[in-house]
Symmetry: C2
Subunit: 320 residues, 2 copies
């Protein structure tokens, strides 16, 4: 885990996942373009296998294990899309996988992870440390730990979404996407530097969890503790030891959007693009459409990072 991922690693990841991950479509809309006064290209990672870009990194990492590592299996900690992605990638590759998940995780997420054949180990969010449990399981059972973002194969794998977007639509002036732990953001920024050097890459956080915005500006790693936001995929406590320097090196700027703006944008995407995008997945679009950068007349990429929604929450979101 010592090497820094490069654009060659993203290219290699693209070959590795070809034919297994979906090459997701790019959505466009005249009405959205008219409203924004720009040309927007939405990379539909909500249509990726397991419902989010996370499958790219998970499959890239798991498919590179040695035969003996693959036989023993992997462990990860995540209550969200990375958990489902590891569960599915392990199913495809026939690799045992243990997912450490908080005992209060929504049952829909637990069921989805188990549906892909992952073994779920629950922990008490208030009293236990998920990383510690992951490391202990790795040690005791000989499992390889695959963290959700701070891993070169994960980062390189996530960068393939942006790579495909540039291949399909050519150079862009801006590329917006969510930032949680920074795996998608740093991977995408590495791909952009190689394929569209003038493209400004913008990471977007929920306002309540703006640690990466603060880290980016202060150049010191900042943290946040369990922020309250509908963007559950971006509640990560901080950037990682790999992703933080990559973000500083490759990312042009950061932005943050509040929850009501985020939900308004999310529902706008549902109505206009007819695409179900989860709140976290709409962060990039919210920043792009709400004036975080001067996009007028520009060619703008947006990664719709995921679409795993518990629809019973919609009533509550509509009321916010």
């Amino acid at each position: 885990m010592a090497s820094w991922p490069t654009s060659a690693d993203v290219e290699s990841a693209a070959s590795q996942i070809a034919g297994v991950a979906h090459r997701t479509p790019v959505a466009t809309s005249r009405l959205v373009d008219d409203r924004a006064g720009a040309h927007l290209f939405f990379k539909c990672e909500n249509l990726q296998r397991s419902g989010a870009f996370k499958f790219r990194g998970a499959y890239n990492a798991l498919s590179r294990l040695s035969p003996s590592e693959a036989k023993r299996g992997v462990v990860t900690f995540s209550s969200g899309n990375h958990a489902q992605a590891i569960a599915l990638a392990g199913q495809v590759l026939d690799i045992p996988r243990v997912i450490v998940m908080p005992s209060d995780a929504p049952s829909v997420k637990r069921v989805a992870t188990e549906g892909y054949g992952g073994e779920v180990v629950l922990y008490d969010r208030d009293r236990e440390d998920r990383e510690e449990i992951g490391r202990r399981l790795a040690r005791e059972r000989g499992l390889t730990l695959i963290p959700p973002y701070d891993h070169p194969h994960i980062i390189a794998g996530q960068g393939t979404a942006a790579r495909e977007l540039f291949e399909d639509v050519g150079p862009l002036d801006f590329l917006f996407m969510p930032c949680g732990g920074g795996g998608l953001l740093s991977g995408s920024a590495i791909a952009a530097r190689a394929m569209s050097p003038g493209c400004k890459v913008i990471g977007v956080e929920p306002a309540a969890g703006d640690d990466a915005n603060r880290s980016f500006r202060s150049k010191q790693l900042q943290t946040v503790h369990n922020p309250t936001t509908v963007a559950d995929g971006a509640r990560t406590p901080s950037l990682g030891t790999l992703t933080f320097p990559l973000v500083l090196e490759y990312v042009s700027d950061m932005a943050a959007v509040d929850d009501s703006t985020l939900l308004r944008t999310m529902f706008y995407l549902w109505e206009r693009l007819k695409l179900v995008v989860e709140p976290t997945g709409a962060l990039g679009a919210a920043a792009a459409l709400e004036g975080a950068q001067p996009i007028l007349g520009k060619r703008v990429g947006v990664i719709l990072s995921g679409g795993n929604v518990d629809l019973t929450q919609v009533s509550q979101w509509l009321a916010m």
Copy 2:
């Protein structure tokens, strides 16, 4: 309006709309296939321009007007997707268009129609007859009346969606789709007969508005008056004078689904395909997935006919 549309007319319509209407994608899902025990191909007309298949027929009809007819303009009656489709097709072709709409139509639909530059004329649903108003406006202002389904160019245009599906995925064993006035159904069945002769074409209505089911079985035109159903696109009073005989000639069977089954299927499509489909647009999928025909092991096409949803209704739908 005397001639019966044929597969040659559908082919001609396909040329007519090429490059203007979207060639919509076909969605598939391993999880949906596993659940159904069949191979399902979803034709995404929710991603069509104006949010529904209706643009196909509207553009086909309007683009065939003579220069003098085009200059005078058209009139239609619809509170739904046909209204928006005529408004948009007229905008693209620079043809004046008047849409007769009930005064109690949801404001979101009126706003959408006006957004495409259509002139909206309101009428009182209880006291006035929309067809009479349409005919009067046609007479007084020299407008050409373009009805929502009972017109050969409309029928041929709607058939292009099924035609594209067969071109993209090859022959099918079944093809399911909604039936309101029967334009989409008869156009699709004409296309199927030519391109996949063994394919059983199934029209699906909401149970509360099953007039076409009854007409199909009795071979006598049956009607229904303002049925109460969430499938607002299929509340049509009856098949038309053109579509009824075409349905009898070309369609294999009809089915009906109740509203709670329909909504459950609609939300399942949102969750699994990440596609926003409106209730009417989920009729075909509901019949296919809920056992209306023996699809086990078969290749099954489903037309997701539209995605125009007023999201503020979702809370109410979730509670049904």
